[in-house]
């Protein structure tokens, strides 16, 4: 509606000088087709259909469904905030949130500094730099499911498991790794870090090439040694990208599913049940609680939205 009035008003100013344009004011179907409007719509059709059916419609449906009781047999019923109430009073929710936070915290402690240190060291390598980068990136190439199933073999609790053999060389173990509630989550995080660190290393390496060498020259004139150059030149220069990877990692770990689902299925004793696993169980764990599942996923999305809003605020403040 607004667009058509815009067109007419824009053309209205010219009607006195160019009478031929007056014809265009009557936007009949024929002129629209001849002007390429129909062809444009045909070309846009794949995008409109795919996004409409598989993105915009499901997103709208998620909001509607969270206020409905849906069991796919009877027509959906409006239940108000009942789904949210069920989820918030689910005794498993605090466990799942706690586990997700624990996963995120462990992933930060383990996975955040390692790629940074590796990238800074790698940037100093003069020969075969490509080999270093390729080796660091190799785990990212291994399909995630294969990586988890392979590490599941490594974590075998038997004394002749791969990791138990290796720690046995220095007289430790055998450990139950995935079978013990206290070591299960760190084991998951270790694999997740292995699988993801290479991608972060590549990002940092790219950022490190952007540090102007004049800054190092200037720091040397002021008498700075290697460590002070790292602390006062390199790291401040990476500040922006460090924040980006931090936020991305938190958003990623908040949605962790593959590792707990394949390694432990949430066990032992719910010690690895994450929020996403809970959503999956509501909907597809045999109970068919679709309304509860969407309610929980919307709440998770809201938390993630706060995180990204926070991120945009911090980055915009820095750029000023």
């Amino acid at each position: 509606m607004t667009t058509s009035t815009q067109t007419t008003s824009r053309l209205a100013g010219r009607t006195e000088t160019i009478p031929a344009r007056r014809l265009r004011r009557r936007r009949s179907l024929g002129t629209w087709v001849r002007g390429g409007g129909l062809s444009t719509l045909v070309i846009a059709l794949p995008m409109l259909l795919v996004f409409g059916l598989f993105s915009w419609f499901p997103i709208a449906r998620a909001v509607v469904m969270s206020f409905q009781f849906t069991n796919l047999v009877t027509p959906p019923e409006w239940v108000g905030l009942e789904n949210f109430r069920t989820v918030l009073t689910d005794p498993l929710l605090t466990t799942a949130i706690g586990n997700t936070l624990w996963f995120a915290a462990l992933a930060l402690v383990l996975g955040y500094p390692v790629p940074l240190v590796a990238a800074v060291l790698m940037s100093e390598v003069k020969r075969f730099k490509g080999l270093y980068a390729a080796l660091a990136y190799l785990p990212v190439v291994v399909p995630p499911v294969v990586a988890v199933l392979l590490w599941k073999q490594f974590y075998s609790a038997s004394a002749s498991g791969v990791f138990n053999t290796v720690v046995g060389w220095v007289g430790l173990g055998p450990y139950p790794w995935l079978q013990d509630p206290s070591t299960a989550m760190p084991s998951l995080v270790l694999e997740a870090t292995w699988a993801a660190a290479g991608g972060t290393v590549i990002i940092y390496l790219a950022a490190l090439t952007g540090v102007p060498s004049e800054l190092y020259d200037a720091a040397e004139v002021d008498g700075a040694g290697i460590w002070r150059k790292v602390w006062h030149v390199t790291l401040p220069h990476l500040r922006g990208i460090l924040l980006v990877t931090l936020i991305l990692q938190v958003i990623g770990t908040a949605q962790v599913f593959l590792e707990p689902y394949l390694f432990t299925g949430g066990g032992p004793a719910n010690s690895t049940t994450t929020v996403l696993l809970m959503i999956y169980d509501y909907a597809f764990g045999g109970r068919g609680q679709y309304g509860e599942a969407t309610a929980l996923s919307l709440m998770l999305a809201a938390v993630l939205a706060v995180l990204s809003a926070l991120y945009f605020r911090i980055t915009s403040r820095w750029s000023h």
């Binding site: 667009t3 058509s4 070309i43 846009a44 794949p46 995008m47 795919v50 059916l53 598989f54 993105s55 915009w56 499901p58 997103i59 449906r61 998620a62 469904m65 590796a118 390598v125 270093y132 980068a133 390729a134 660091a136 990136y137 190799l138 785990p139 190439v141 291994v142 399909p143 995630p144 499911v145 199933l149 392979l150 590490w151 073999q153 002749s160 053999t165 991608g199 972060t200 590549i202 990002i203 790219a206 190092y216 040694g225 290697i226 390199t234 980006v244 990877t245 991305l248 958003i251 689902y261 394949l262 996403l276 959503i279 999956y280 909907a283 597809f284 599942a293 996923s297 998770l300 939205a305």
Partner: protein
């Protein structure tokens, strides 16, 4: 000459730093230690997988770190491939990847063309709607998208156990559309205008002018599409319930329960071969630009 290249490519340690013996040796030592660590951590697990894929089950279970104590067993690979039908799941994975690739390229190229080059009056609204989906995490879509696939609006068919259930939703990637639109925005508009003056309609302009110019960006979309399809697990798990339709990623966890461990490891190794070959072929692409794009996408 040498001096200039050195200053241009300098890192944290200066040429002066490097002339000091202590610095030189500690840099050399860390370089070697780093290489060793990367070999053990990065290459080690992959090599262990390759070794165990052709080792008899008993050896892998009894002494997993020994190198072929009782010889190799190449039959694991053929057993996995034929008897446990890895070949079928492999083909399914390929079919899913090719179909997802086609839908993604079609939607991204045609959509980007409309939003950036043709720019009809309604393009701005669509553009905002596409960008808005970037901020909706995938988890929100999980259940409603599943119910949509179960009973597609208007046509009322179920796509469960059909490859279309994976192909079509793959096309709804705002990330693809954003990078293609941005690429098209940077193409010289004079070329399009010249073609339009010469009487080229929207289809002709797309086919003869824009498409040949957009090969680099469609290459990027293609690589991301194939990688994502190969990695995808949760979505195909939900919509492809019939084992004969499932890709490797979905089938492997099920195989783990009933296949001997040596054959299972052979199956894992087979699943890893194509991604690693692709990585070695397009190494430069992955190690230069893909890191950032992949991070944004994930």
């Amino acid at each position: 000459m040498r001096m200039t290249t050195q200053t241009a490519e300098r890192g944290i340690a200066s040429a002066l730093d490097r002339r000091r013996a202590s610095v030189r040796w500690s840099i050399r030592l860390t370089t070697w230690l780093l290489l060793l660590a990367l070999l053990v951590v990065g290459l080690g697990p992959v090599l262990w997988l390759a070794k165990s894929a052709v080792t008899p089950a008993q050896d892998t279970l009894r002494d997993p770190m020994a190198l072929f104590p009782n010889g190799a067993d190449l039959e694991n690979l053929s057993t996995a491939w034929t008897r446990f039908e890895i070949s079928r799941y492999f083909v399914n994975t390929l079919v899913l990847a090719v179909g997802s690739w086609f839908v993604q390229v079609l939607v991204a190229a045609s959509g980007g063309y409309v939003l950036s080059v043709l720019r009809p009056a309604w393009a701005r609204v669509v553009h905002v709607l596409v960008l808005a989906t970037l901020f909706v995490p995938a988890v929100v879509l999980l259940v409603p998208l599943f119910l949509t696939v179960l009973d597609v609006p208007f046509v009322h068919v179920s796509l469960i156990n059909s490859f279309w259930a994976v192909w079509l939703p793959a096309g709804a990637s705002a990330f693809n559309l954003v990078i293609v639109t941005r690429f098209f925005d940077n193409l010289p508009r004079e070329v399009f205008e010249a073609a339009q003056v010469d009487g080229a309609g929207p289809f002709r302009l797309a086919w003869s002018v824009v498409l040949p110019m957009s090969r680099p960006i469609l290459g990027v979309v293609s690589v991301f599409a194939v990688i994502a399809a190969w990695k995808d697990f949760l979505w195909p798990l939900l919509v492809l319930r019939a084992p004969e339709k499932q890709p490797l990623s979905v089938r492997l966890p099920a195989l783990e329960t009933y296949v001997p461990v040596d054959v299972f490891l052979a199956a894992l190794a087979i699943s890893t071969v194509i991604p690693i070959v692709l990585f070695l072929l397009f190494q430069r692409f992955f190690l230069r630009g893909a890191g950032l794009g992949g991070a944004v996408k994930g």
